[in-house]
Amino acid sequence: MKSKNKRFHKGLRTAGLFFALVFAYLVLAIPFRVMTVIPGFTEIRPVQLLKPVYGVFFGIPGCLAFAFGNLIGDLLGDSLRWSSIAGFAANFAGPFVFWLFWSRLSKTPFSLRTGTDLLKHLVTTVVSAFTESLLITPVVMLVYADVDAMLFAITVFLNGTVFPLLLGIPLMILMQEEFGFRPCANRYAPL
């Protein structure tokens, strides 16, 4: 009974965290709808800075929040299309790559204190952005032949690398070093 209650509270906390993360995503994403690159398809998306943050600090609920946030953003921005399904998958995969790397592949715990740590993070970011681009672009190419696929792929890739690196890294440093957030994607962290 006690463990059932504990599980219920944990589930409730995770659900609360998920909604809070989706809300934070939308608050940050919606104003940037005015900075369009390909109308209806992609714009300049600084919200991508949250991608490593959600993956590393919030794990799977973070990855889901990132994907749902993007989907709801599409819905609110009147740009919900068939390609949004691929967009959902890509936006889940983006933060998931960070979670996967820091929780399963890396031999050291997550930190951004040294040049080596930063290099690892850079490579993970590039892989994550490439995965996103690879998941969305073919679908957009198939369904919407009139869209410039190359420009689309480049925009997705640049959004997925520039913002997580330039804005995401300082935010993660701030969260870990100053606000005491513990990386969720860290199998070395003390329980």
Binding site: I30, P31, I44, L112, R113, L167, P170, L171, L174, E177
Partner: protein, 304 residues
């Protein structure tokens, strides 16, 4: 936060500031800069207060009046140099005017010396390179520039340098989040006072639209709430001179934006060779400050 992390944060702050031009291009020219400050700083302090209320309350209980007084000083100095820059920039074109901001790098070590504080040789080398960059970029325009314009910018940069020194000092003593929130609140109040004098219709004079509101929010998130707070956190682990040298990279980022971004977002311009060479000198100066040069390794043998 270690020194490397602080420098990275300062680069990010500079990058955010450099995007100001892009955001401003979405805000109609008729809107006064003070109106933008009131609305964006207002939104930013509301966000900070909502998210970190407990932390701010704790810091206020600890430091109280002393902190408020210091924030008031910082807020007044910030408003003063904002006004000076606003009027000083009227004497220059956009690209040349942006280079004059970097004069702060040269003024700051001098201020530190007058305050009897040490400035390292490495920093002086950086300052020299940045100064060469500024002179290069301003080139012929420096000769033709009106003396009054240069004077206003020089005074503005001196006031800004003093602000950075004080901010660096206070950041090491108080909670950066609380400092940032109070600086925003005081900045909002002061800018509102000026706005009322210049444009009594205030909020009614703004041509509200989706794009304008979105631009205000973007500015509030990134330039005020994020960059300003991150800057104060980074200042805790950085020196005032080091921070200012990194700030001078703003012009380099601005040049990159003006060349790379699509015309739908920004008025594109091709930088002159003088600007490019000047920017390269500034990058070199910043790199010297950012990179840690290790002295020759000394092997230490421990005898048992």
């Amino acid at each position: 936060m270690n020194r490397l992390q602080a420098n990275l944060c300062l680069i990010c702050v500079t990058l955010c500031w450099s995007t100001e031009v892009i955001i401003f291009s979405c805000i109609p020219d008729g809107i006064l800069p003070f109106a933008t400050t009131v609305i964006t700083s207002g939104i930013a302090c509301l966000i900070l207060l909502t998210c970190f209320f407990k932390r701010i309350r704790q810091e206020m209980a600890r430091s109280g009046k002393k902190l408020l007084l210091r924030c008031l000083i910082l807020g007044v100095i910030k408003t003063a140099y904002d006004i000076l820059f606003l009027y000083g920039l009227n004497y220059f074109d956009v690209s040349t005017g942006a280079f004059t901001f970097c004069i702060t790098v040269v003024v700051l070590p001098v201020i530190l010396l007058t305050m009897k504080r040490n400035v390292s040789k490495k920093t002086w080398a950086s300052v020299l390179l940045v100064l060469t960059g500024i002179v290069c970029a301003l080139g012929g325009t420096l000769v033709n520039a009106q003396f009054l314009g240069l004077l206003i910018m020089f005074v503005g940069c001196t006031v800004r340098a003093f602000f950075i020194v004080k901010l660096n000092e206070y950041a090491k003593e108080h909670d950066p989040m609380t400092l940032s929130t109070w600086i925003s609140i005081i900045g909002t109040v002061l800018a509102f006072a000026i706005w009322v004098v210049l444009q009594p219709s205030t909020f009614a004079s703004i041509p509200w639209s989706g794009t304008v509101i979105a631009s205000f929010f973007i500015y509030a998130y990134f330039i005020v709430a994020f960059a300003q707070t991150l800057n104060i956190f980074a200042q805790k682990s950085a020196t005032a001179t080091g921070a200012t040298i990194i700030y001078s990279l703003e012009i380099v980022f601005s040049l990159i934006w003006s060349y790379v971004l699509p015309e739908s977002l920004i008025d594109r311009m091709t930088p002159s060779p003088y600007h490019v060479v000047g920017a390269l000198f500034i990058v070199a100066g910043s790199l010297i400050e950012i990179l840690e040069f290790k002295s020759r390794r000394v092997r230490v043998e421990i005898k048992e």
